[in-house]
Amino acid sequence: MSNLTIKTIDLCKFYGEKHALYNISFDVRKGEIFGLLGPNGAGKTTLIKILATLLLPSSGRALIEGLDVVKDAKKVRSIIGLYLAESGFYYRLKIRDFLQFFGRLYGLSGIELRRRIQELLEFFQLEDKADEEINALSHGMRRKLHLARALLHNPSVLLLDEPTIGLDPISAKDLRDRLKQLSREGTTVLLSTHYMPEAEEYCDRVLLLNLGKVVAIDSPQNLIRRHGGFQVIEVLYDQKRLSMVPDRLKTLVASRLKRETDASIYVLKDGRLKVYSKNADEMLPGLADALVQLKVQVRSITIAKPTLEDVFHKLVAGMNGG
């Protein structure tokens, strides 16, 4: 129990009749990087806000280091660092002034505050910009600044909502490396993302969330091992020359492959079509024929092992009865 930093028990959040979270139970160990994965509207931000004491749950409990997020909200706030993708800034402030204000809000002052700000500016490579207005910062730098703000008071738990969204690949990797470093130093990191490769590479364990319900919890490797007993045919096609909406393509391909009962088909927004099947090799000729008949301009077809993203799609499809 003492090794657990975050624990939720049957956590629910309702807005009137609509449920945003339903019976969410999980725990996060100390120093772990724990990912909340799910599509938009899965309930990731709602869950993070409840853990951060910024939203009251309808029922159930959530504990952070043994403290109840409702009853001990004040104490919980002092041990967590929160990063929300939607958070704003005082744009006319200089970086240093921004950090100073939030440091003071957390009760830091004097040499301690100055030292901490300097450490964080160096950690996030913002020291050259310290006396510039936030207005002048790039998107990536603003995100780093918010992370620095979240870390000002040395929180033992870091709650991050989509920390790498909108970042260029280099900045995103840099940020993930820094989170990894914090985790090694003992900070528990709970982050939400819908970018699956990120979670697969960096998270010790993940919680797959869909429509406010838990789909699965485990390490990415275990999830792939347990639920990835299939192969993935990935078709890269020319989106611009497609004469139908992707959903229609999915329906037509599915109807042509109807004999393959175990196959699941996904058409992604980035010009990829994925077919999950236990017999990918046998299915491939039929799929190629179907694509030719539908006049889809195919760039490449590959057969691969499933990734976390594939497992997630497959599990969500099972949950939705698809």
Partner: protein, 275 residues
């Protein structure tokens, strides 16, 4: 130590507001001056009606100069009260729109944030009102017959600021529930300030309107400030007492209601809903 931290946070927040709002922008001062001037023009119209025989006895009892004083003090106090009230009442709404409200809540020091905002409001409207007063004194100063009691004047204004502060904290709690409340807030409070005796004497209104006017701390504040300016503070006690009661009442309402309203906003998720 906690008190010191609260002071520091309030001061830092005040400085942030100065930077965010570019307070020293001459246009912003000018626009406030125009607003106040409109109120003063209404006052001049009132004087015309006085001279035409309406509100018998008022000019005789106050003198022409003090009718001007009546109008000027009314306009200035309306601006001060309404400005401070809006500043505090919309403080969290402004943070919500900016996306910083949740970050402030995590810091857990909302009272110093309100205090910082009030200080900002005092500076903002203080500059405007000072500019107006200089202009009024330069143009019409020779007409006033001032008999000032500085002590009761200071106490009256301080009590008005205090009562307005807590009134604003109560209002922000409601505004936090839903943006739909904002028009209701405006249509309730703006007309109320017309019936407080700001530009026309309270006694011309029917009794029920006068009772309603006492919901606003502006009503006793106007009486107290005018008596402090023109009658050397004579008979100011009742107005000061009424103002003190208003302050304590709004303080009690704020202390009782604010946690309930905040809890409600945290339940509905309104706290994190950006415009």
């Amino acid at each position: 130590m906690r008190l010191k931290t609260a002071f520091v946070v309030a001061w830092c927040y005040f400085r942030i507001q100065l930077k965010q709002h570019e307070l020293m922008n001459p246009l912003s001062i000018l626009s406030s001056m125009v607003g106040t001037s409109i109120s003063i023009v209404v006052g001049f119209l009132f004087i015309r009606y006085c001279l035409a025989g309406y509100f018998d006895g008022l000019i005789e009892s106050l003198g022409y100069g003090n009718v001007m004083g009546f109008v000027v003090t009314g306009s200035i106090l309306v601006i001060l009260h309404q400005g401070l009230l809006n500043t505090v009442a919309f403080s969290l709404e402004e943070e919500r729109r900016l996306g910083t409200l949740e970050l402030l809540l995590l810091g857990g020091k909302l009272f110093p944030i309100f205090a910082g905002k009030l200080l900002f409001g005092l500076v903002r409207y203080g500059i405007t009102l000072f500019a107006i007063m200089v202009a009024v004194v330069a143009l019409f100063g020779h007409m006033f017959e001032l008999h000032v009691n500085l002590f009761t004047l200071t106490v009256s204004i301080a009590l008005l600021v205090g009562a307005t502060f807590f009134q604003g904290i109560v209002a922000q709690g409601f505004i936090l529930q839903s943006r739909k409340i904002i028009p209701l807030y405006t249509v309730t409070l703006v007309p109320l300030s017309w019936f407080t005796g700001a530009t026309v004497p309270l006694k011309i209104f029917p009794l029920w309107m006068r009772s309603l006017a006492y919901l606003s701390p502006l009503t006793p504040a106007l009486t107290a400030v005018r008596r402090s300016l023109f009658s050397n503070g004579a008979n100011v006690e009742t107005a000061v007492l009424a103002l003190s009661i208003q302050l304590l009442t709004y303080l009690a309402i704020a202390a009782l209601l604010s946690p309930v309203l905040m809890k409600r906003a945290l339940t509905t998720g309104e706290v994190g809903r950006r415009g």
